[in-house]
């Protein structure tokens, strides 16, 4: 899964003025031809930095995203759910592994990325800072958060950076199981006992606001974002992604007889887009900046995992003398 709504502010190298115009023209021509960029190609600093930031955040979201669903890994009801959830959470770790590798081809080591995650310097998807109180919360994530992630990932898979596209192709293929599994879980809750139905309705009520935050605030279209779109780093606006998600999943939620906790939510026949209550962006910012219900726990669990694994890694210290970036 993937945290949507990347914000691209705060990077110093936001100008391409210092780049060699000839190289820049060749680079842009390559993208315009529909050819992907590979790690050893020349690329503008801004392109490199934004991609590292984006892929790294995506990787962190997978690793941290394994925790809220992992909360139920020892309690999944029945053999089938138990094995599915184990495999699903495992896939999230696997996606993190793939994405860190893709980011590494741009020159940032996995060591640095994990350090930046734990220190809070680098962000991950906001939604994983919310708690999973019941089995139904876990099902909500498996179905709908993954659905949102897939909307983002399918778009990004058409981007311009080869290693990221390769990782995303693999991830999207794996995600189809997640989505089906999640929907399957929710259908069974919907068709089950009143208690099961109520469990999911409550989860839906809790998770709807963070789900609307998931795609990020409306983009301010600046010269900066236009460049990133031209370079196929940013593949669509946050609002487009949110609309696509609502188009695809609101009918499926309603079909199951659940209510979505937003009285204003409806498709506007004139614009063809969804109207909804404006999400609370102050809360969004507060949670991103560390003040969400589970931020501390998520990072602390990751810190402990790294700390406990340290002796294992130290014991097997590699014979390599220097770090080598992966090839592709």
């Amino acid at each position: 899964m993937y945290g949507g709504g990347n914000t691209f502010e705060g990077i110093k190298t936001d100008s391409v003025a210092q780049e060699d115009p000839q190289k820049l023209a060749a680079f842009e021509a390559r993208i315009a031809r529909g050819e992907k960029i590979e790690p050893t190609d020349w690329m503008p600093q801004l392109y490199r930095k934004q991609l590292i930031r984006m892929i790294e955040q995506h990787a962190h979201s997978e690793i941290i995203g394994a925790l809220p669903e992992g909360t139920w890994i020892t309690r999944a009801p029945g053999f089938k759910r138990k094995m599915s959830l184990m495999a699903k959470v495992q896939d999230e770790v696997g996606h993190g592994q793939l994405l860190y590798s893709a980011a590494e081809t741009l020159g940032k080591s996995r060591e640095e990325m994990i350090d930046d995650l734990i220190s809070g310097k680098s962000k991950y998807s906001n939604i994983f800072n919310y708690p999973t109180f019941t089995w139904a919360d876990c099902c909500f994530i498996s179905w709908l958060v993954d659905a949102g992630a897939i909307v983002n990932q399918l778009a990004n898979a058409k981007g311009s950076y080869g290693p990221y596209c390769r990782a995303l192709d693999r991830i999207c293929a794996e995600e189809s199981f997640h989505l089906k599994y999640g929907h399957h879980c929710v259908i069974y809750l919907a068709a089950g006992s009143p208690k099961q139905r109520a469990m999911f309705q409550e989860a839906l009520n809790r998770w709807w606001p963070p789900m609307m935050h998931f795609f990020g605030p409306s983009d301010k279209i600046s010269v900066h974002t236009e460049v990133l779109m031209k370079w196929k780093v940013k593949m669509g606006t946050n609002d487009d992604m949110r609309n696509q998600f609502l188009d695809m999943y609101v009918p499926k939620i309603l079909e199951l007889g659940f209510t979505i906790p937003d009285p204003k939510l409806k498709k506007n026949p004139d614009t063809g887009r969804w109207d909804y209550t404006e999400p609370d962006w102050d809360e969004f910012k507060r949670v991103i900046n560390g003040d969400g219900p589970c931020n501390k726990e998520r990072l602390e669990v990751r810190r402990i995992a790294e700390e406990r694994g340290k002796w294992v890694r130290e014991a097997l210290k590699t014979s390599k003398t220097a770090y080598v970036t992966p090839l592709a």
Partner: protein, 251 residues
């Protein structure tokens, strides 16, 4: 064929795999290296899958549905060795348990490929590849950490001494052992234990870890008869927390 003896054998196999698969799955998302996190989780999934297959065999022999059997019994109705229910501890503890258990498990299933109970022999043949990976993984890790730093060797040695009496408990004989052997269902715990010891010694002798002095070790028995440590019941309560909200519904 002695049905009673056969069922007891299937139950202990199924319970060992379920409980250890469950324990090992607790590491998912918290392992020492992303790649190892993935590998360890896969092996836990294999175990739960194998356990499920065994509960299906039991179901065909007239026992209840796998989910009901696995998620509603109490600790004293479980036949697993105490070894597999112990809390995970640090990674050395989990790895050493993985090594000791999976070595026995793979040898046991190798024997069962010749079982006179055809469905069991079929299953045994089918999962040889999974078991091959489990022992490749365990042996590689033990050999590498067992030859690495002072800390890793000390940790592994400590876990080996803690776990060895429990590991020997895996081979507690059934009161119906003779029937299993005579019917050609399973060659018996004694035969298994003998090969297991030599294989464990073989791996350990390729490391700086000491081979245990078998004579002075006292096995921890009881698990096969439903006598468990204080750790099993809380683990089962946790595992069935959602299932027990309504065992009659579909989840």
């Amino acid at each position: 064929m002695n049905d009673q003896a056969l069922k007891e054998l299937l139950y202990k196999l199924a319970d060992d795999l379920l409980i250890l698969g469950h324990r090992n799955s607790e590491w998912t998302g918290m392992g020492p290296l992303l790649e190892e996190d993935i590998a360890f989780s896969s092996m836990a999934q294999d175990k739960i899958g194998q356990s499920h297959a065994l509960f299906q065999l039991l179901h065909q022999l007239g026992e209840q549905q796998p989910d009901l059997v696995a998620f509603t019994r109490n600790a004293n109705q479980f036949h697993n060795a105490v070894l597999v229910e112990l809390p995970n501890g640090e990674y050395d503890f989990s790895l050493v348990r993985h090594f000791l258990f999976d070595m026995a498990d793979s040898l046991r299933w190798q024997m069962l490929t010749n079982s006179s109970y055809e469905p069991l022999a079929q299953l045994a043949k089918k999962i040889q590849g999974e078991l091959r990976y489990h022992t490749l993984h365990a042996n590689t890790w033990i050999k590498q950490l067992g030859n690495a730093t002072e800390e890793s060797i000390t940790r592994l040695q400590g876990s080996l001494s803690k776990l060895m009496p429990y590991a020997l408990g895996m081979f507690e004989e059934s009161p119906m052992e003779a029937a299993l052997i005579n019917d050609g269902i399973f060659k018996g715990e004694q035969a298994l234990q003998a090969i297991w010891k030599s294989k464990v010694e073989e791996v350990l002798s390729a490391t700086q870890l000491a081979v245990p002095d078998w004579k002075i070790l006292v096995p921890v028995y009881g698990g096969r008869r439903g006598q468990h440590s204080e750790h099993l019941q809380p683990m089962l309560d946790e595992m069935s927390e959602v299932f027990r909200i309504d065992p009659t519904t579909e989840w």
